[in-house]
Symmetry: C2
Subunit: 302 residues, 2 copies
Protein backbone atom coordinates (compact mmCIF):
# COMPACT_ATOMS: atom_id res chain seq x y z
CA UNK A 1 0.00 0.00 0.00
CA UNK A 2 3.03 2.27 -0.29
CA UNK A 3 2.89 5.30 -2.58
CA UNK A 4 5.77 3.87 -4.67
CA UNK A 5 7.00 0.33 -5.16
CA UNK A 6 10.63 1.30 -5.52
CA UNK A 7 12.29 4.60 -4.64
CA UNK A 8 15.87 5.11 -5.83
CA UNK A 9 18.05 7.83 -4.33
CA UNK A 10 21.33 8.86 -5.95
CA UNK A 11 23.65 10.59 -3.47
CA UNK A 12 23.48 9.64 0.20
CA UNK A 13 24.38 12.86 2.03
CA UNK A 14 22.30 14.94 4.44
CA UNK A 15 19.29 15.28 2.12
CA UNK A 16 19.36 11.85 0.50
CA UNK A 17 19.59 10.06 3.84
CA UNK A 18 16.88 12.31 5.32
CA UNK A 19 14.52 11.46 2.44
CA UNK A 20 15.04 7.78 3.26
CA UNK A 21 14.42 8.31 6.98
CA UNK A 22 11.30 10.37 6.35
CA UNK A 23 9.96 8.01 3.62
CA UNK A 24 10.39 5.04 5.91
CA UNK A 25 8.62 6.85 8.74
CA UNK A 26 5.44 7.03 6.63
CA UNK A 27 6.10 3.90 4.54
CA UNK A 28 6.07 5.84 1.29
CA UNK A 29 8.05 3.22 -0.61
CA UNK A 30 8.10 -0.58 -0.53
CA UNK A 31 11.72 -0.79 -1.61
CA UNK A 32 14.19 1.94 -0.76
CA UNK A 33 17.32 1.69 -2.93
CA UNK A 34 20.35 3.94 -2.66
CA UNK A 35 23.57 4.67 -4.50
CA UNK A 36 26.54 6.94 -3.88
CA UNK A 37 29.65 7.37 -6.01
CA UNK A 38 31.83 7.28 -2.90
CA UNK A 39 32.76 3.77 -1.69
CA UNK A 40 33.09 4.87 1.89
CA UNK A 41 29.72 6.64 1.89
CA UNK A 42 28.07 3.47 0.55
CA UNK A 43 29.64 1.41 3.32
CA UNK A 44 28.53 3.87 5.99
CA UNK A 45 25.02 4.03 4.50
CA UNK A 46 24.78 0.23 4.65
CA UNK A 47 25.87 0.27 8.28
CA UNK A 48 23.28 2.92 9.20
CA UNK A 49 20.61 0.92 7.39
CA UNK A 50 18.19 3.66 6.27
CA UNK A 51 17.66 1.93 2.90
CA UNK A 52 16.63 -1.62 2.02
CA UNK A 53 19.58 -1.90 -0.32
CA UNK A 54 22.62 0.16 -1.27
CA UNK A 55 23.74 -0.59 -4.81
CA UNK A 56 27.29 -0.43 -6.08
CA UNK A 57 26.22 0.79 -9.51
CA UNK A 58 23.82 3.41 -10.81
CA UNK A 59 22.01 1.16 -13.29
CA UNK A 60 20.89 -1.40 -10.70
CA UNK A 61 19.82 1.34 -8.36
CA UNK A 62 17.39 3.02 -10.77
CA UNK A 63 16.28 -0.18 -12.54
CA UNK A 64 12.54 -0.62 -12.18
CA UNK A 65 12.26 2.35 -9.80
CA UNK A 66 8.99 4.34 -9.81
CA UNK A 67 10.64 7.36 -8.28
CA UNK A 68 14.27 8.37 -8.79
CA UNK A 69 15.63 11.36 -6.83
CA UNK A 70 18.99 12.97 -7.55
CA UNK A 71 20.55 14.08 -4.25
CA UNK A 72 24.14 14.67 -5.35
CA UNK A 73 25.71 18.13 -5.68
CA UNK A 74 24.09 19.69 -8.76
CA UNK A 75 27.41 19.75 -10.62
CA UNK A 76 27.15 15.96 -10.93
CA UNK A 77 23.61 15.87 -12.34
CA UNK A 78 24.50 15.93 -16.01
CA UNK A 79 26.79 12.93 -15.77
CA UNK A 80 24.35 11.02 -13.54
CA UNK A 81 21.42 11.77 -15.86
CA UNK A 82 23.37 10.55 -18.86
CA UNK A 83 24.29 7.29 -17.11
CA UNK A 84 20.86 6.45 -15.70
CA UNK A 85 18.76 7.49 -18.71
CA UNK A 86 18.88 4.10 -20.51
CA UNK A 87 17.82 2.30 -17.32
CA UNK A 88 14.83 4.40 -16.30
CA UNK A 89 11.46 2.68 -16.28
CA UNK A 90 8.68 4.03 -18.48
CA UNK A 91 6.24 5.98 -16.30
CA UNK A 92 8.84 6.65 -13.60
CA UNK A 93 9.15 10.06 -11.94
CA UNK A 94 12.64 11.55 -12.10
CA UNK A 95 13.18 14.34 -9.57
CA UNK A 96 15.92 15.98 -7.53
CA UNK A 97 16.55 18.15 -4.47
CA UNK A 98 18.99 20.70 -5.90
CA UNK A 99 19.15 24.30 -4.69
CA UNK A 100 19.03 25.64 -8.25
CA UNK A 101 16.45 24.69 -10.81
CA UNK A 102 17.16 26.40 -14.13
CA UNK A 103 20.55 24.71 -14.44
CA UNK A 104 19.04 21.37 -13.46
CA UNK A 105 16.51 21.58 -16.28
CA UNK A 106 19.35 22.56 -18.63
CA UNK A 107 21.60 19.68 -17.51
CA UNK A 108 19.12 16.86 -16.94
CA UNK A 109 16.30 17.67 -19.36
CA UNK A 110 18.04 16.57 -22.57
CA UNK A 111 18.63 13.06 -21.19
CA UNK A 112 15.12 12.33 -19.96
CA UNK A 113 13.64 9.47 -22.03
CA UNK A 114 10.13 9.72 -23.45
CA UNK A 115 7.60 8.41 -20.94
CA UNK A 116 9.66 9.43 -17.90
CA UNK A 117 8.20 12.32 -15.87
CA UNK A 118 10.92 14.80 -15.04
CA UNK A 119 9.84 17.10 -12.17
CA UNK A 120 12.57 19.21 -10.52
CA UNK A 121 12.09 19.85 -6.81
CA UNK A 122 13.82 21.61 -3.95
CA UNK A 123 13.13 21.08 -0.25
CA UNK A 124 13.90 24.26 1.71
CA UNK A 125 15.51 22.43 4.59
CA UNK A 126 18.95 21.45 5.77
CA UNK A 127 21.57 21.76 8.44
CA UNK A 128 25.26 22.68 8.38
CA UNK A 129 26.19 18.98 8.58
CA UNK A 130 26.92 16.67 5.66
CA UNK A 131 27.12 12.96 4.93
CA UNK A 132 24.87 9.93 5.47
CA UNK A 133 25.08 10.22 9.28
CA UNK A 134 23.64 13.75 9.16
CA UNK A 135 20.16 12.76 7.96
CA UNK A 136 17.10 12.46 10.16
CA UNK A 137 13.39 11.79 9.66
CA UNK A 138 12.02 15.16 10.78
CA UNK A 139 14.22 17.39 8.62
CA UNK A 140 11.38 18.33 6.26
CA UNK A 141 8.60 18.69 8.82
CA UNK A 142 6.87 22.04 8.43
CA UNK A 143 9.37 23.20 5.78
CA UNK A 144 8.47 24.14 2.23
CA UNK A 145 9.34 22.03 -0.77
CA UNK A 146 9.18 23.81 -4.11
CA UNK A 147 8.34 21.91 -7.29
CA UNK A 148 9.21 23.52 -10.63
CA UNK A 149 7.37 21.36 -13.20
CA UNK A 150 8.49 21.75 -16.79
CA UNK A 151 6.04 22.79 -19.50
CA UNK A 152 3.96 19.98 -20.95
CA UNK A 153 4.52 17.66 -18.00
CA UNK A 154 1.96 15.18 -16.68
CA UNK A 155 -0.25 16.81 -13.99
CA UNK A 156 -0.91 13.43 -12.35
CA UNK A 157 2.80 12.80 -11.88
CA UNK A 158 3.20 16.29 -10.39
CA UNK A 159 0.33 15.58 -7.97
CA UNK A 160 1.94 12.31 -6.98
CA UNK A 161 5.31 13.95 -6.27
CA UNK A 162 3.51 16.66 -4.32
CA UNK A 163 1.85 13.99 -2.15
CA UNK A 164 5.24 12.34 -1.68
CA UNK A 165 6.77 15.55 -0.30
CA UNK A 166 3.76 16.11 1.90
CA UNK A 167 4.28 12.57 3.15
CA UNK A 168 7.87 13.49 4.00
CA UNK A 169 6.46 16.29 6.21
CA UNK A 170 6.74 19.26 3.84
CA UNK A 171 4.34 21.89 2.64
CA UNK A 172 4.52 22.14 -1.16
CA UNK A 173 4.62 25.16 -3.46
CA UNK A 174 4.89 25.35 -7.23
CA UNK A 175 6.70 28.00 -9.25
CA UNK A 176 8.68 28.28 -12.43
CA UNK A 177 12.38 27.51 -12.29
CA UNK A 178 13.53 31.04 -13.07
CA UNK A 179 11.56 32.57 -10.23
CA UNK A 180 12.72 29.82 -7.87
CA UNK A 181 16.33 30.67 -8.65
CA UNK A 182 15.79 34.35 -7.89
CA UNK A 183 13.87 33.68 -4.66
CA UNK A 184 16.55 31.29 -3.46
CA UNK A 185 19.30 33.70 -4.50
CA UNK A 186 18.07 36.17 -1.87
CA UNK A 187 16.83 33.74 0.80
CA UNK A 188 19.66 31.24 0.66
CA UNK A 189 22.50 31.79 -1.79
CA UNK A 190 23.34 35.39 -0.88
CA UNK A 191 23.17 34.66 2.89
CA UNK A 192 25.59 31.78 2.42
CA UNK A 193 27.92 33.83 0.19
CA UNK A 194 27.97 36.66 2.75
CA UNK A 195 28.52 34.24 5.64
CA UNK A 196 31.42 32.57 3.85
CA UNK A 197 32.84 35.99 3.03
CA UNK A 198 32.70 37.46 6.53
CA UNK A 199 34.23 34.35 8.08
CA UNK A 200 37.00 34.59 5.50
CA UNK A 201 37.54 38.28 6.27
CA UNK A 202 37.77 37.61 10.00
CA UNK A 203 40.23 34.81 9.33
CA UNK A 204 42.52 37.04 7.30
CA UNK A 205 42.70 40.14 9.53
CA UNK A 206 46.18 40.82 10.84
CA UNK A 207 45.31 43.08 13.79
CA UNK A 208 42.80 40.68 15.33
CA UNK A 209 43.95 37.10 15.92
CA UNK A 210 41.90 34.07 14.96
CA UNK A 211 41.90 33.12 18.65
CA UNK A 212 40.20 36.40 19.51
CA UNK A 213 37.61 35.98 16.77
CA UNK A 214 36.78 32.53 18.10
CA UNK A 215 36.70 33.52 21.79
CA UNK A 216 34.44 36.52 21.32
CA UNK A 217 32.27 35.02 18.60
CA UNK A 218 29.12 34.91 20.76
CA UNK A 219 28.64 38.60 20.07
CA UNK A 220 27.23 37.88 16.61
CA UNK A 221 29.95 36.32 14.49
CA UNK A 222 29.20 32.74 15.53
CA UNK A 223 25.82 32.83 13.77
CA UNK A 224 27.57 33.31 10.42
CA UNK A 225 29.98 30.45 11.05
CA UNK A 226 27.12 27.94 11.03
CA UNK A 227 26.16 28.76 7.45
CA UNK A 228 29.85 28.99 6.53
CA UNK A 229 30.32 25.41 7.74
CA UNK A 230 27.99 24.05 5.07
CA UNK A 231 29.18 21.54 2.49
CA UNK A 232 31.80 23.17 0.19
CA UNK A 233 31.09 21.02 -2.87
CA UNK A 234 27.35 21.60 -2.73
CA UNK A 235 27.83 25.35 -2.39
CA UNK A 236 30.48 25.63 -5.06
CA UNK A 237 28.01 24.00 -7.44
CA UNK A 238 25.19 26.34 -6.36
CA UNK A 239 27.24 29.43 -7.21
CA UNK A 240 28.50 27.95 -10.46
CA UNK A 241 24.89 27.21 -11.47
CA UNK A 242 22.93 30.25 -10.31
CA UNK A 243 25.37 32.93 -11.37
CA UNK A 244 23.00 35.51 -12.84
CA UNK A 245 20.48 35.57 -10.00
CA UNK A 246 23.24 35.61 -7.38
CA UNK A 247 25.02 38.48 -9.10
CA UNK A 248 21.73 40.37 -9.38
CA UNK A 249 20.89 40.20 -5.66
CA UNK A 250 24.53 40.72 -4.74
CA UNK A 251 24.45 43.92 -6.77
CA UNK A 252 21.47 45.13 -4.75
CA UNK A 253 23.15 44.09 -1.51
CA UNK A 254 26.25 46.07 -2.48
CA UNK A 255 24.24 49.19 -3.33
CA UNK A 256 22.48 49.03 0.02
CA UNK A 257 25.73 48.40 1.86
CA UNK A 258 27.34 51.45 0.23
CA UNK A 259 24.48 53.56 1.49
CA UNK A 260 24.78 52.08 4.97
CA UNK A 261 28.53 52.62 4.92
CA UNK A 262 27.94 56.26 4.08
CA UNK A 263 25.46 56.55 6.97
CA UNK A 264 28.11 55.19 9.35
CA UNK A 265 30.78 57.51 7.94
CA UNK A 266 28.50 60.56 8.16
CA UNK A 267 27.20 59.65 11.61
CA UNK A 268 23.65 59.62 10.25
CA UNK A 269 21.89 58.18 13.29
CA UNK A 270 18.45 58.68 11.83
CA UNK A 271 19.16 56.55 8.74
CA UNK A 272 20.68 53.83 10.91
CA UNK A 273 17.78 53.81 13.36
CA UNK A 274 15.28 53.74 10.54
CA UNK A 275 16.80 50.65 8.90
CA UNK A 276 17.33 48.87 12.22
CA UNK A 277 13.66 49.36 13.06
CA UNK A 278 12.29 48.15 9.71
CA UNK A 279 14.21 44.87 9.85
CA UNK A 280 12.63 43.79 13.16
CA UNK A 281 9.24 43.22 11.55
CA UNK A 282 10.60 40.56 9.18
CA UNK A 283 11.96 38.53 12.08
CA UNK A 284 8.59 38.66 13.80
CA UNK A 285 6.81 37.49 10.65
CA UNK A 286 9.18 34.53 10.24
CA UNK A 287 8.63 33.45 13.84
CA UNK A 288 4.87 33.99 13.53
CA UNK A 289 4.53 31.56 10.60
CA UNK A 290 6.65 28.93 12.37
CA UNK A 291 9.75 29.15 10.18
CA UNK A 292 11.97 29.92 13.18
CA UNK A 293 11.90 29.62 16.93
CA UNK A 294 10.83 32.51 19.17
CA UNK A 295 13.33 31.44 21.82
CA UNK A 296 16.20 33.92 22.42
CA UNK A 297 19.44 33.00 20.64
CA UNK A 298 17.58 30.27 18.71
CA UNK A 299 17.10 28.53 22.08
CA UNK A 300 20.64 27.18 22.03
CA UNK A 301 22.15 26.00 25.28
CA UNK A 302 25.68 27.33 24.90
Amino acid sequence: MSMFNKIAIIGLGLIGSSVFHAARRRQLGTELAGYDINDDVRLRAKAIGFANIIHDDLASCVQNADLVILCTPVGAYKSVAEQIAPHLKKGAILSDVGSVKGAVIRDVGPFVPAGVHFIPAHPIAGTEFSGPEAGFATLFDGRWAILTPVAGGDPAAVEKLKSFWQGLGSKVDMMDAGHHDLVLAITSHLPHLIAYNIVGTAHDLEKVTEGEVIKYSASGFRDFTRLAASDPTMWRDVFLNNREAVLEVLGRFNEDLSQLQRAVRNGDGEALFDLFTRTRAIRRAIVDIGQDTAAPNFGRKS
Copy 2:
Protein backbone atom coordinates in the same frame (compact mmCIF):
# COMPACT_ATOMS: atom_id res chain seq x y z
CA MET B 1 29.00 38.98 53.28
CA SER B 2 28.15 40.25 49.78
CA MET B 3 30.90 41.54 47.49
CA PHE B 4 29.26 44.99 47.43
CA ASN B 5 26.90 46.71 49.86
CA LYS B 6 24.99 48.58 47.19
CA ILE B 7 24.98 48.00 43.47
CA ALA B 8 23.31 50.65 41.30
CA ILE B 9 22.32 49.90 37.72
CA ILE B 10 21.33 52.65 35.30
CA GLY B 11 19.27 51.33 32.40
CA LEU B 12 17.03 48.30 32.93
CA GLY B 13 17.03 46.56 29.56
CA LEU B 14 18.26 43.08 28.64
CA ILE B 15 21.75 43.53 30.10
CA GLY B 16 20.86 45.63 33.17
CA SER B 17 18.13 43.25 34.23
CA SER B 18 20.36 40.22 33.58
CA VAL B 19 23.10 41.70 35.79
CA PHE B 20 20.51 41.98 38.57
CA HIS B 21 19.29 38.40 38.09
CA ALA B 22 22.83 37.02 38.00
CA ALA B 23 24.03 39.16 40.95
CA ARG B 24 21.10 37.99 43.03
CA ARG B 25 21.78 34.36 42.14
CA ARG B 26 25.21 34.59 43.82
CA GLN B 27 24.28 37.31 46.32
CA LEU B 28 26.94 39.68 45.02
CA GLY B 29 25.25 42.78 46.43
CA THR B 30 23.30 43.47 49.62
CA GLU B 31 21.19 46.17 48.04
CA LEU B 32 20.35 46.12 44.35
CA ALA B 33 19.14 49.54 43.18
CA GLY B 34 17.94 50.34 39.68
CA TYR B 35 16.98 53.33 37.58
CA ASP B 36 15.65 53.81 34.05
CA ILE B 37 14.78 57.05 32.30
CA ASN B 38 11.58 55.47 30.94
CA ASP B 39 8.60 55.59 33.34
CA ASP B 40 7.06 52.46 31.88
CA VAL B 41 10.29 50.48 32.11
CA ARG B 42 10.63 51.44 35.79
CA LEU B 43 7.07 50.25 36.48
CA ARG B 44 7.68 46.96 34.69
CA ALA B 45 11.01 46.49 36.51
CA LYS B 46 9.27 47.00 39.84
CA ALA B 47 6.65 44.43 38.89
CA ILE B 48 9.28 41.86 37.88
CA GLY B 49 11.12 42.49 41.13
CA PHE B 50 14.73 41.74 40.16
CA ALA B 51 16.02 44.70 42.23
CA ASN B 52 15.46 45.65 45.86
CA ILE B 53 14.45 49.12 44.80
CA ILE B 54 13.78 51.00 41.58
CA HIS B 55 14.46 54.71 41.99
CA ASP B 56 12.66 57.48 40.16
CA ASP B 57 15.79 59.63 40.00
CA LEU B 58 19.42 59.06 39.13
CA ALA B 59 20.88 60.76 42.20
CA SER B 60 19.10 58.50 44.72
CA CYS B 61 19.99 55.43 42.70
CA VAL B 62 23.76 56.00 42.77
CA GLN B 63 23.89 57.58 46.23
CA ASN B 64 26.14 55.54 48.49
CA ALA B 65 26.56 52.79 45.87
CA ASP B 66 29.84 50.86 45.88
CA LEU B 67 29.36 49.76 42.30
CA VAL B 68 27.56 51.77 39.62
CA ILE B 69 27.04 50.16 36.19
CA LEU B 70 25.82 52.08 33.17
CA CYS B 71 23.55 49.81 31.11
CA THR B 72 21.87 52.38 28.85
CA PRO B 73 22.63 52.73 25.13
CA VAL B 74 26.12 54.26 24.94
CA GLY B 75 24.76 57.45 23.36
CA ALA B 76 23.25 58.33 26.74
CA TYR B 77 26.44 57.81 28.78
CA LYS B 78 27.72 61.39 28.64
CA SER B 79 24.51 62.87 29.97
CA VAL B 80 24.16 60.19 32.65
CA ALA B 81 27.78 60.58 33.74
CA GLU B 82 27.38 64.33 34.07
CA GLN B 83 24.25 63.90 36.19
CA ILE B 84 25.52 61.22 38.53
CA ALA B 85 29.06 62.55 39.03
CA PRO B 86 28.24 64.81 42.03
CA HIS B 87 26.49 61.92 43.79
CA LEU B 88 29.10 59.19 43.43
CA LYS B 89 30.64 57.88 46.63
CA LYS B 90 34.39 58.16 47.12
CA GLY B 91 35.95 54.72 46.53
CA ALA B 92 33.04 53.56 44.36
CA ILE B 93 33.63 51.63 41.15
CA LEU B 94 31.97 53.16 38.08
CA SER B 95 31.64 50.73 35.20
CA ASP B 96 29.45 50.00 32.19
CA VAL B 97 28.48 47.26 29.72
CA GLY B 98 28.75 49.16 26.43
CA SER B 99 29.75 47.49 23.17
CA VAL B 100 32.30 50.21 22.43
CA LYS B 101 35.00 51.31 24.82
CA GLY B 102 37.02 54.16 23.30
CA ALA B 103 33.97 56.40 23.02
CA VAL B 104 32.92 55.49 26.55
CA ILE B 105 36.25 56.62 27.95
CA ARG B 106 35.93 59.81 25.88
CA ASP B 107 32.37 60.52 27.07
CA VAL B 108 32.46 59.38 30.70
CA GLY B 109 36.09 59.91 31.66
CA PRO B 110 35.95 63.71 32.02
CA PHE B 111 33.14 63.52 34.59
CA VAL B 112 34.64 60.90 36.90
CA PRO B 113 35.36 62.52 40.30
CA ALA B 114 38.69 61.97 42.04
CA GLY B 115 38.54 58.87 44.22
CA VAL B 116 36.04 57.08 41.99
CA HIS B 117 37.41 54.09 40.08
CA PHE B 118 36.28 54.20 36.47
CA ILE B 119 36.67 50.78 34.80
CA PRO B 120 34.93 50.27 31.45
CA ALA B 121 33.66 46.76 30.80
CA HIS B 122 31.83 44.81 28.13
CA PRO B 123 30.14 41.43 28.57
CA ILE B 124 30.14 39.49 25.27
CA ALA B 125 26.62 38.19 25.74
CA GLY B 126 23.11 39.03 24.72
CA THR B 127 20.04 37.97 22.80
CA GLU B 128 17.92 39.63 20.14
CA PHE B 129 15.37 40.65 22.78
CA SER B 130 15.22 43.96 24.65
CA GLY B 131 13.66 45.39 27.78
CA PRO B 132 13.48 44.44 31.47
CA GLU B 133 11.52 41.24 30.72
CA ALA B 134 14.32 39.94 28.48
CA GLY B 135 16.92 39.49 31.24
CA PHE B 136 17.81 36.16 32.86
CA ALA B 137 20.35 34.93 35.40
CA THR B 138 22.40 32.65 33.14
CA LEU B 139 23.02 35.11 30.30
CA PHE B 140 26.70 35.58 31.20
CA ASP B 141 27.52 31.96 32.06
CA GLY B 142 30.58 30.81 30.15
CA ARG B 143 30.73 34.04 28.12
CA TRP B 144 33.65 36.44 28.12
CA ALA B 145 33.57 39.84 29.78
CA ILE B 146 36.27 42.26 28.65
CA LEU B 147 37.56 44.95 31.01
CA THR B 148 39.45 47.89 29.51
CA PRO B 149 41.00 49.61 32.55
CA VAL B 150 42.26 53.15 31.99
CA ALA B 151 45.90 54.07 32.62
CA GLY B 152 46.76 54.85 36.23
CA GLY B 153 43.72 53.04 37.63
CA ASP B 154 43.65 51.18 40.91
CA PRO B 155 44.60 47.50 40.43
CA ALA B 156 42.59 46.44 43.49
CA ALA B 157 39.42 47.96 42.06
CA VAL B 158 40.05 46.20 38.75
CA GLU B 159 40.49 42.90 40.59
CA LYS B 160 37.24 43.47 42.46
CA LEU B 161 35.30 44.19 39.26
CA LYS B 162 36.89 41.11 37.69
CA SER B 163 35.65 38.98 40.62
CA PHE B 164 32.20 40.52 40.22
CA TRP B 165 31.97 39.48 36.56
CA GLN B 166 33.25 36.02 37.43
CA GLY B 167 30.51 35.92 40.06
CA LEU B 168 27.99 36.74 37.34
CA GLY B 169 29.21 33.64 35.48
CA SER B 170 31.68 35.20 33.03
CA LYS B 171 35.26 34.52 32.14
CA VAL B 172 37.23 37.80 32.20
CA ASP B 173 39.80 39.21 29.78
CA MET B 174 41.64 42.54 29.84
CA MET B 175 42.68 44.62 26.86
CA ASP B 176 43.06 48.24 25.91
CA ALA B 177 40.00 50.06 24.65
CA GLY B 178 41.29 50.59 21.12
CA HIS B 179 41.97 46.91 20.57
CA HIS B 180 38.61 46.00 22.07
CA ASP B 181 36.87 48.24 19.58
CA LEU B 182 38.64 46.61 16.64
CA VAL B 183 38.02 43.06 17.90
CA LEU B 184 34.35 43.79 18.43
CA ALA B 185 34.10 45.54 15.07
CA ILE B 186 34.81 42.22 13.36
CA THR B 187 33.16 39.80 15.80
CA SER B 188 30.00 41.80 16.47
CA HIS B 189 29.52 45.17 14.79
CA LEU B 190 30.21 44.08 11.20
CA PRO B 191 28.03 40.93 11.55
CA HIS B 192 25.15 43.07 12.79
CA LEU B 193 25.65 45.68 10.06
CA ILE B 194 25.68 42.97 7.39
CA ALA B 195 22.63 41.26 8.88
CA TYR B 196 20.68 44.53 8.98
CA ASN B 197 21.76 45.23 5.43
CA ILE B 198 20.79 41.90 3.91
CA VAL B 199 17.40 41.93 5.62
CA GLY B 200 16.87 45.42 4.24
CA THR B 201 17.89 44.30 0.74
CA ALA B 202 15.48 41.36 0.84
CA HIS B 203 12.73 43.68 2.03
CA ASP B 204 13.23 46.09 -0.86
CA LEU B 205 13.45 43.66 -3.80
CA GLU B 206 10.63 44.07 -6.28
CA LYS B 207 10.86 40.71 -8.03
CA VAL B 208 10.67 38.65 -4.85
CA THR B 209 7.82 39.41 -2.45
CA GLU B 210 8.31 39.84 1.27
CA GLY B 211 5.95 36.89 1.73
CA GLU B 212 8.29 34.66 -0.27
CA VAL B 213 11.32 35.84 1.67
CA ILE B 214 9.54 34.97 4.91
CA LYS B 215 8.20 31.61 3.76
CA TYR B 216 11.47 30.31 2.41
CA SER B 217 13.68 31.88 5.08
CA ALA B 218 14.74 28.53 6.58
CA SER B 219 17.22 28.16 3.74
CA GLY B 220 19.66 30.57 5.41
CA PHE B 221 18.07 33.99 5.54
CA ARG B 222 16.32 33.46 8.88
CA ASP B 223 19.66 33.30 10.69
CA PHE B 224 20.38 36.91 9.71
CA THR B 225 16.98 38.10 10.86
CA ARG B 226 17.80 37.23 14.46
CA LEU B 227 20.72 39.67 14.60
CA ALA B 228 18.68 42.19 12.59
CA ALA B 229 15.99 42.08 15.27
CA SER B 230 18.36 43.50 17.90
CA ASP B 231 17.62 46.78 19.67
CA PRO B 232 17.75 49.67 17.15
CA THR B 233 18.78 52.37 19.64
CA MET B 234 21.63 50.32 21.06
CA TRP B 235 22.94 49.51 17.59
CA ARG B 236 22.57 53.03 16.23
CA ASP B 237 24.75 54.18 19.11
CA VAL B 238 27.33 51.44 18.47
CA PHE B 239 27.80 52.53 14.86
CA LEU B 240 27.89 56.21 15.78
CA ASN B 241 30.58 55.47 18.36
CA ASN B 242 32.86 52.94 16.69
CA ARG B 243 32.97 54.49 13.26
CA GLU B 244 36.65 54.09 12.43
CA ALA B 245 37.01 50.45 13.41
CA VAL B 246 33.73 49.53 11.70
CA LEU B 247 34.75 51.29 8.49
CA GLU B 248 38.14 49.56 8.62
CA VAL B 249 36.73 46.03 8.83
CA LEU B 250 33.93 46.89 6.43
CA GLY B 251 36.60 47.95 3.92
CA ARG B 252 38.23 44.55 4.25
CA PHE B 253 34.88 42.80 3.95
CA ASN B 254 34.15 44.72 0.75
CA GLU B 255 37.53 43.87 -0.76
CA ASP B 256 36.97 40.19 -0.05
CA LEU B 257 33.42 40.32 -1.37
CA SER B 258 34.59 41.88 -4.63
CA GLN B 259 37.01 39.01 -5.07
CA LEU B 260 34.27 36.48 -4.31
CA GLN B 261 31.90 38.24 -6.69
CA ARG B 262 34.53 37.95 -9.41
CA ALA B 263 34.93 34.23 -8.65
CA VAL B 264 31.16 33.76 -9.08
CA ARG B 265 31.14 35.79 -12.29
CA ASN B 266 34.10 33.89 -13.74
CA GLY B 267 32.80 30.51 -12.62
CA ASP B 268 36.00 29.95 -10.64
CA GLY B 269 34.98 26.79 -8.79
CA GLU B 270 38.41 26.27 -7.32
CA ALA B 271 38.46 29.67 -5.57
CA LEU B 272 34.93 29.09 -4.24
CA PHE B 273 35.71 25.59 -2.98
CA ASP B 274 38.92 26.81 -1.37
CA LEU B 275 37.18 29.56 0.64
CA PHE B 276 34.23 27.34 1.59
CA THR B 277 36.64 24.74 2.95
CA ARG B 278 38.74 27.15 5.02
CA THR B 279 35.74 28.63 6.81
CA ARG B 280 34.61 25.26 8.22
CA ALA B 281 37.56 25.10 10.60
CA ILE B 282 36.55 28.30 12.39
CA ARG B 283 33.10 26.89 13.14
CA ARG B 284 34.66 23.76 14.60
CA ALA B 285 36.98 25.82 16.82
CA ILE B 286 34.07 27.91 18.16
CA VAL B 287 32.08 24.78 19.03
CA ASP B 288 35.17 23.12 20.54
CA ILE B 289 35.74 25.95 23.04
CA GLY B 290 32.07 25.96 24.03
CA GLN B 291 31.09 29.29 22.46
CA ASP B 292 28.35 27.66 20.37
CA THR B 293 26.33 24.49 20.31
CA ALA B 294 27.34 21.48 18.20
CA ALA B 295 23.68 20.66 17.56
CA PRO B 296 22.53 21.04 13.92
CA ASN B 297 20.70 24.32 13.20
CA PHE B 298 21.70 25.60 16.66
CA GLY B 299 19.46 22.84 18.07
CA ARG B 300 16.33 24.86 17.38
CA LYS B 301 13.03 23.07 17.36
CA SER B 302 11.35 24.85 14.44
